[in-house]
Subunit: 315 residues, 4 copies
């Protein structure tokens, strides 16, 4: 199997994982998606990531995924890179999504380890190697989200895949700062200049950037892309106080995910529902519904998000 | 939404979750699958369940799933019911599998709760209700396998879905005997005569049948269907000693799943690899490989399974 | 280190883990404890187990533990064996409890693996070997309760300790029927005649006895010792239907642990609080309070337990 | 119950959780403990914490704990505050440790939630309130270590206890940066000036200090107290680059905990064994053994730690 050399430059900055706006009938709302993309570009983001966890990729049918990919590629029109989630249970099923995403013209792919069945690191390695053989020159990022996948990608596996040129980086949503720091230190020691380490945490971005992480993939960036861009720029400029203040503001804004009543809906519904509700209140998308069978936020809950946006200076 | 009344008679007996024989190139080996089905029918099974966890359904592409469904329906030719797994991450994606399975002519469907995203019981209920509206008169069984799905289906949810006519029963692979017993006792008290409770455990079948479970869906039944049929018949006939002796023999046979070296492959690979290796050694299937990216058993490991089959009287 | 040969005959039957009755000031209520013991003896139990999980042993000070031991030994007066929990975080701390229990004249000891710190099976083995060297001829039972200790005692470790004469048996509160069955089958194959396997589950006793377990240590036996004795006797006599009916009745009685509002107290408080409330309602003990800092059941919750006792025929 | 007002000034800086040096016979080695304390004071630490997790407090008998307390108080002689762990399963048992620690003359107490039994936040609150009523003016710090205790102390509970004057701060060993940041932000908003937030993580100290944490309780500080003091001072002085470099050096030094063979000992044994082996190699303590029943590091493993100390500049 020939694995092509990695040619993509290192990913950096703010790359929000876009939610997928839906109609009340649970179809993809392409007009709202287009507005969301313009809202992100206006906010100054460095890329967009569709069909990730925030994008409810695993909830969408193949046809719906295709609509999201095509709408996004067309709307972004090459202004920033488009990353596409190809998240599914096994290599064979992910391979089908890889083909579809390549055909749609995305710039990079984001894949988790296989899930449902429990896999061994050696099997996860085989998984990514096979995907890379299908993706050719298109970069693949490993997506480490053990809360969903049930497996933590170890630093040693991620670094090994990076050294082999199989993956161009990692999106770390493990919430384990130690492991994230291990990646950054080892990358430097190994001289892996083109290997990107991105955090998926909304609330530790200033710290992570300070110790060497390249950027952030924040779900909350759907609602406040400009805030994350300011946070990134101040941190990179070395203004730790300004970065911390921006992070603290966003920390408080993140409380929107606690508004919904968790005794009647899942964690995914309440968090993504809050992002969508925020975008709905801000007039970016037309309908705040999450994918079926998720329970939507009530009108009262949506109203309760409004003052939290106000407090954060979003109107 | 109209949910049709449940018309299927209660499922009972031995319904092995068939492995999916593959070629060395990871294609579905239809000739081996046909032989496996004949081996099962000769063993006296009461039904077959394809595309479940043992069937590596989540590893197969849509096209491969279709091949399995069509081959099975044709080969079984109505002699026993064919149950088809429709296991996927969300309602929308499962719905596509439901359509395909109905078109192939299966007799019943088996679905888990959504996974990857964390869902609430109220959302799981919506999931099954929607699936039933698509399945019409075809029975749906809930598949409770928290080790894979991340969520335990509570007895109250399962019973409520049964009372509503949404599901025709449950396959319990939770390993929690208390919850299984709760189902049986409550079913009796609620007068739910047509509601099937099947255990997915290979090693507690005599006990479970003794307290009122209807049957078993044993992965090990791939290798020894006749043994499970004897176990079921002796238990139902009230010969507890004979049932226990048969169960103890199968308990020991189940040790084949511990032969493979777990430091180099996943739990799924070693267990399913052992079932396939057993069938390969017995001459039922042509190749013992598990689905990509699973690591296969080595020749030495396959050889080590042979004496365990011998000890159990399988040749 | 010399490990004395095991001389105790195999433990069998019903050995309830006694709750520790407390006064409203959280002192040990010796009069209530004496009445509880007489209630158990009148019910026909085969032994009593004090200072276990149900006995809130880890909540009591050394002085309080001593009062429980001395009261129990005096009240039982040799009519049945007295087993004493010696549950603590490490070998050294357990050793102190062993000395105290031996001095009080108990008949056997019950110890878990060390906890708080994570230990390896080889370290757990050292733990039990050291305890046995201190206990001399007094039997030690291993107590497998991973929900509290954080570690499952593997069948191979338990059997090895049994073969070495270090432990006289195991109380299995793991809830894993497969592992329990493994113990019974392996014990038979290894010819370990004097090694006792007891289940700690309230609700699978008939099944467990049917496949070869020796007896039960049921928390619910505090409330209905005679019921568990009937269950044991009918099961041993081979009357599976009578045993199942008794088990089903006790299954329903066990619903008393779900009466308390779990949103305002812990799982331990609600379960032990229910056992104590049941004994209080039945007039056996004077005060239903659980150990500090546990939240007690409210009067309304205690009243709600009364009809469940009535339904089970307890007055 | 009267809870006295908190009078202790806010804890800050580097407060290593001292290991407890033992003799080959598992007695407390007071001479080595005295040398360890002098090594810490020479390194410039701001306090010492004995009988914590690193101090193997839960492994020691009451008598051994007392020896540690008295030796430490005498050796420190008021130069820095002495914090004492009072870690045990329940309020009553912790209360006994509180009395002993107060009698020995420690400056502050460190307590976890109850463990073994599962407790509710309302019960944990009762636990700390009772302890404070016993401790009088002596400060109590809550110790949040869910990996050992099985319960995470929520930010809201910790802050509420702080506002009530029950606790003077928290040592956070949860590894959850989000929750740590929540504490710091909320403390500022609530104006809780005297409330200390300390991290227990060895490897994220620069980040944590940058976002407002007061100090660190690093197990690795046993081996390199001066390094952590440099890290703290540079961070507080605003020299982020120097702090990061020091943190990165300590990150690499922390690899000593991975030297021991985890297939033959527990995680606690390998980590604490490495700290003790480091101190042994450096000539600070006489014997590297961990508490019984922990498996000690082999001579080969101890030798393998030497070059890692060298690399970090420790001789």
């Amino acid at each position: 199997m020939t694995v092509p050399a990695q040619t993509t430059a290192r990913l950096t900055g703010v790359v929000p994982p876009l939610v997928t706006p839906l109609t009340p009938e649970y179809d993809v709302d392409t007009a709202s998606l287009a507005r969301l993309i313009q809202y992100q570009l206006a906010g100054g983001v460095d890329g967009v990531f569709v069909l990730g966890t925030s994008g409810e990729g695993t909830f969408l049918t193949d046809e719906q995924r295709q609509v999201v990919l095509e709408t996004t590629v067309a709307e972004v029109a090459g202004q920033v890179p488009v990353l596409a989630g190809v998240i599914d249970t096994s290599t064979g099923r992910v391979a089908a999504h890889v083909s579809a995403a390549l055909k749609a013209g995305v710039d990079a792919l984001v894949a988790t380890a296989p899930f449902y069945a429990a896999t061994h690191p050696a099997e996860i390695e085989r998984h990514f190697v096979r995907l890379k053989s299908l993706a050719g020159d298109t970069a693949i990022y490993a997506y480490d989200i053990p809360s969903r996948v049930g497996t933590k990608l170890s630093a040693s596996l991620v670094l090994s895949l990076g050294e082999q040129g199989v993956i161009a980086g990692v999106k770390d949503s493990s919430g384990q700062e130690t492991s994230l720091r291990q990646l950054v230190i080892s990358r430097r020691e190994l001289g892996m200049r083109d290997f990107a380490v991105m955090t998926g945490s909304e609330v530790t971005v200033d710290s992570s950037l300070a110790f060497g992480v390249d950027g952030v993939v924040p779900g909350l960036g759907n609602v406040d892309p400009a805030g994350y861009v300011r946070l990134f720029k101040t941190a990179v400029a070395g203004d730790a106080a300004a970065a911390r203040a921006e992070q603290d503001r966003l920390f408080r804004l993140f409380e929107i995910i606690e508004v919904a009543d968790r005794s009647r809906m899942g964690a995914s519904s309440s968090a993504l529902g809050a992002f969508k509700a925020g975008l709905y209140v801000l007039g970016v998308i037309d309908c705040p519904v999450t994918a079926y069978p998720c329970i939507p936020l009530s009108d009262t809950e949506i109203d309760a998000i409004r003052p939290l946006l106000d407090r954060a200076g979003l109107h």
